[in-house]
Amino acid sequence: MTRSSRQLWHFHGGLKLESNKAISTQSPIVKARLPKRLILPVQQHIGEAGALLVKKGDKVLKGQAITQSTEYVSAPVHASSSGTVIDIDEYPAPHPSGLNTLCVVIETDGEDKWTELQPTHYINTKSPAELRQLIRKAGIVGLGGAAFPTAVKVNPGPQAHIETLIINGAECEPYISCDDMLMREYATELISGCGIIQYMVSATHCLITVEDNKPEAIKAIQAVINEQALHTIEVVSIPTIYPTGGEKQLIKVLTQKEVPSDGFPSDIGLLVQNVGTAVAVHKAIVLGEPLISRIVTVTGEGVKQPQNMEVLIGTSMSELIEQSGGYHDDACKLIMGGPMMGFTLQTDHLPVIKGCNCLLVENTPEETPATMPCIRCGACASVCPAQLLPQQLFWMASSKNFELVQDYHLFDCIECGCCAQVCPSQIPLVQYYRFAKTEIWSQERDRIKSDHARVRHDFRQARLELEKKERAEKLRKKKELLEKKKIAEAAAKNDTPETEIDPKKAAIEAAMKRVQDKKAAKQNNNTSSDE
């Protein structure tokens, strides 16, 4: 199995970008210092947040779970070091909104003492389901940036048959080099992780794909493959074209197949995992360590010593910058992720989370030209890897035509930024798409809420109607009773002994009726508040 023999294909569009990776690959990965405080957001992944397992004042050990998954698509969070929980409250989180989210704050004790770990020495002794459970407990999420719970991803369902496992080491975004460095320095662990995932999904092949601008990484992995004489794992060098690291684009390059828009790679017998995730799987299974650290690229023209760092989750970004020599004076933009898809942060007092692969500091850009109207040049469509019509999407999004924009496949947009990058009119196209997407989601939430409100309103109307009817019925009965009483009274003149008993009986009867009515009303009330 030689690398060169493999046939590769192209995806539509894409860009050749200046990679700028070399500035952060000059030195080996540096271990970041143990911080005094760790801020751990309970929600660091796609899906539901887990339930808290600790309270303020609790002592925690390194690797101890502080939340536990209650839903299927979820991942627990672990204490990255030993110490005391000093606060559980809302803190600013790294998110484009800059909003706060629930975090557990741990004051570290400096001992960095591990909780008891349960390594698995022979993976063959465990079933894939058991291994999945271990991965779930270790809180592993996709480390390429999307942060989707890995335990869910490696379980494509009983009917899916995974033929090939693809390990994504493309890392196509400029500046980011954490996967590159990881492949260079953790090639053995990576191969071990690949083997575990391959075993779990019973894939016959495993392809480790690396862009051809990372020759050292390819060499390091190839060396391990040769050394261990592995026949089912292959490293594939692919052309450097952004965004070849996108899951669907990567699959197209390797297999020429297109993942259906409403489907998953498993529908065509494939599973894609990031290299960092594979190493995390190795650590979780072989060493028993949960996901408590990751490699972060600290880079950009605005930071003095660009480098890759192994960072405990929850460490403040400001400390990483400080340990990388600090900012240059002209630093002006802090980006989490790469320059093409990352989002800007307002401050560096934010914790590193599981999905944080890169901290990019940009220095003052030249005066950006003013946004001009679209001149319909079509450059956007020619670079769109999803083969969409960015220009049409832009018109529809800006005119808030949310129905049509979905017909033109807005949700197939991967927000890679190629269109905006080539737009001569400097239109922030991606922001228009993000606006439309979040707006559509919001409308969907509103729709669900209003449907719910309608049901409750209708129920209340029905209840009031019923109560009204009941009241009318009661009134009618009372009147009837009164009538009867009158008749009885009239009759009493003729027959005295009976009249003595009658009013009493009527009073008792009326009282019993009242109780019954009350009961009925109460029941009615109960059912409505149960709703």
Partner: protein, 361 residues
Amino acid sequence: MQFKTASSPHIPQQNSVQGLMFKVLLAMVPGTIAMIVFFGWGVLINIILASVVALSAEALMLWIRKRPIKPYITDGSAILTACLLVLALPQLAPWWLTVIGTLFAIIVAKHLYGGLGFNPFNPAMVGYIVVIISFPKEMTQWVPPLLEGYTQLTFTETLSIIFGGDLPLAYTWDAITMATPLDTVKTQLGLELSINEIENHKEYGGIFGSVGGFGWEWVNGLFLATGCYLAVKGIIDWRIPAGLIAALLVLSNTFALYDYASFTPPTFHLFSGGIMLAAFFIATDPVTAATTTKGRWLYGAGIGVFIFIIRTWGAYPDGIAFAVILMNMAAPLLDYYTMPRAFGHSWTEFPHHHKTDDDDE
């Protein structure tokens, strides 16, 4: 430390509308110089006049529409419109003709439709059509090429003709103007002469040069060369000129093979009149062209077909402006029917297959 926020991508990019326009303008320089060399100063005088008028009209309209003036006035689009219009006009077009054409192009065809990016029709071609329909006589004031035996006007003479409207004493209109090769072919074919007889006519045969008309060959050749450069650099889309030239080539070749006496040869079609200017500089205006790849092939080819039809059977010697405007109208339709298939979708889905109410169920 507080940082700036913005949506991705965060890489400063090099493309700009202004950059595109100026590169296109620059690419027009060699062909324009050839025109000045072969057909006199009229071209230059009218270009300067039209540019000044276009910029003033642009500024005025931006001011009226309360839009920022600086970014739009410097984007080069107004000058480009002015140049394209002038290159299509006869060299001795009087000043007011140029002014009316330019004003109509900028004010009506461009700004009344919303300005840059929103005009459905090519402004220069709209301006051209207005003047050719309104002032057919003045639109014949072409000058003979730089050939022995024909009067060559000096700069000052040209200036006084364009602005004064009166001829210098020594000249008559017949002496200083002359029908273009395209025009000549059209009239003479009407008089039942064969192509061969026309091209070798002892009186005017000289203007036909070797392929597309003396002087015109050079003009078209240079526009072709610089246009190809723009296409290679990706500044214009190559499919539009390719489609246009291919369609014109196929049609003219077919008809010339069928009857070489009544139909001009393909080389003449390609190198006479404003074909290369139209193919690489007019039809490629992105605002008014189709946007999809297939759509651009069809758009270019459509212009080629219309040019051939109008040249051969129409009332006008050259039909570029009408062909372009007709295809401008068709551009949205072409775009709609040539939408690409989105990644991971099939050809049978919307928008290719139109949604009906049944699909909603």
